[in-house]
């Protein structure tokens, strides 16, 4: 194993094991918070986008287009550097909070568009059936349409979650300590690029592999229509 030691010093990496473990933990919990928030916010966006009221759906459509046509990094800068300059003093967010806000604002429209496609995929008869047994439109949406919609679009939702986890790496640029931040810390202290960055990549790949396994389990549990399409 000596030849490997020349390229990849495992002893050095093991000294930083707890730093990387902390980084993985930060990446995972930040992703989880952003995922929960963007699913809620995304559902609201999807419902607003499908409203017939132009005062509601037009601004929402504009917001979705704006997010999709600008880079995440610029959105993070807008929230982290820009927002404090226009907010009343005293209302300041730290790096982690700014990062979570920016990532949620970024991910929600993508989640919303997926959920909207899901709602469109629910059979018309399901909704008519629910209405005809006396459910209100609100009850129908909550108990009949949304559960089926989400089951139908689980594959793209999981795919977008994987993108979200990768996107948290950009938060290292505004000095949030997460997985890539752990690599940057190791690099700045040891100046060995290979061990620092390749370890980060391996950790991300491990998270990605777990997402693939999870996606397989979900696929077996619920066979929505989107699964057959693939």
């Amino acid at each position: 194993m000596n030849w490997l030691q020349d390229y990849f010093n495992l002893r050095l990496v093991s000294e930083y094991a707890d730093v990387f473990a902390e980084g993985i933990w930060q990446t995972l919990w930040i992703s989880a918070v952003c995922l929960a928030l963007s699913l809620i916010f995304g559902t609201l966006l999807a419902l607003a986008r499908m409203s017939k009221n132009p005062l509601l759906w037009r601004p929402v459509a504009g917001y979705i287009q704006f997010i999709r046509a600008t880079p995440l990094l610029v959105q993070i800068y807008l929230v982290y550097y820009g927002l404090p300059t226009i907010m009343p003093s005293g209302m300041l967010f730290d790096e982690v909070q700014s990062g979570i806000i920016a990532l949620t604002l970024h991910t929600s429209p993508y989640m919303g568009e997926i959920i909207r496609a899901g709602i469109g995929s629910v059979a018309r008869g399901q909704i008519e059936g629910a209405l005809s047994v006396g459910m209100t439109p609100r009850q129908t949406m909550r108990h009949i349409t949304l559960p089926q919609a989400i089951a139908n679009v689980m594959p793209p939702l999981l795919g977008q979650t994987a993108v979200l986890i990768k996107d948290t790496s950009l938060l290292s640029i505004i000095a949030v300590f997460e997985l890539l931040g752990a690599g940057l810390l190791m690099f700045s202290e040891t100046v060995v690029a290979t061990e620092s960055y390749v370890t980060v990549a391996i950790c991300y790949l491990a998270i990605y592999a777990m997402m693939l396994v999870l996606s397989g389990i979900v696929q077996n549990r619920l066979g929505g229509s989107a699964w057959q399409a693939n």
Binding site: T70, S169, S172, T194, A229
Partner: protein, 229 residues
């Protein structure tokens, strides 16, 4: 009123720099798209030929590129590859940007091309073989031309992803649009929100037509998935 003239002055002062940044963003994104699409096209076609070993290698390549963030890939190309000591892997920042972005693009394009080729009805290839075309001729004249049409809508949205990814290049000091904005803010620290919004508008002007093209092409040529992520 004073607010508007104030901000207009900033726009007039900054737009030559931002335009320079946009031009570099445009150049880098086009080069990466061209190289990445070429690699992706070759790998995508190779993936459908049905050699198990080749397929495994390509899948590994795709998982490596899709499973890690682009920023990490950029750091690996820029910092780790030169550390191997192999001379031609010592990239300067421009080469590192183009190499990493091309590889990243190719991972998306490979999947789209493979999906499009698989979406061409099997009867097309069978008919071509039955009239005496060889396997290569069938690919060249029958399957690939039909598949290419199907790749247009997802490809347009991949290009938007590539354009947006160029913003990350500012961290290795390439003076593209985002970097130019950061420099502008160092000169005028009072207008952070306005300048970043201005940069966002520049990106929007570049990306939005591509998103529309993708939407239009979806109606025109149909969709094979892949799509926007």
């Amino acid at each position: 009123m004073e607010w508007i003239t104030d901000k207009w002055d900033i726009v007039v002062q900054l737009y030559p720099f931002l335009l320079k940044g946009l031009w570099l963003t445009f150049q880098i994104s086009i080069i990466a798209i061209l190289i990445g699409s070429t690699i992706g096209f070759v790998l995508g076609v190779a993936k459908t030929t049905g050699f198990r070993l080749l397929n495994g290698v390509i899948n590994l390549y795709l998982h490596l590129l899709r499973g890690s963030p682009y920023l990490v890939q950029l750091y690996i190309v820029y910092f780790v590859l030169p550390a191997t000591g192999i001379a031609w892997l010592s990239f300067d920042s421009y080469m590192a940007a183009i190499v990493s972005l091309s590889l990243y693009t190719s991972s998306y394009v490979t999947e789209i091309v493979a999906a499009a080729i698989n979406a061409v009805p099997k009867g097309q290839a069978e008919a071509a073989r039955s009239v005496g075309m060889t396997r290569a001729q069938t690919y060249r004249h029958i399957v690939v031309p039909q598949a290419l049409k199907l790749t247009i809508p997802p490809m347009a949205s991949i290009y938007v992803i590539v354009i947006k990814s160029t913003a990350v290049l500012s961290v290795i000091g390439i003076s593209e649009l985002t970097r130019q904005g950061e420099v502008a803010i160092m000169r005028m620290p009072g207008d952070i929100m306005f300048i970043y919004s201005l940069i966002a508008v520049f990106y929007f002007i570049y990306c939005y037509p591509m998103l529309r093209l993708s939407k239009w092409a979806e109606g025109r040529f149909g969709t094979t998935g892949g799509g926007d992520t």
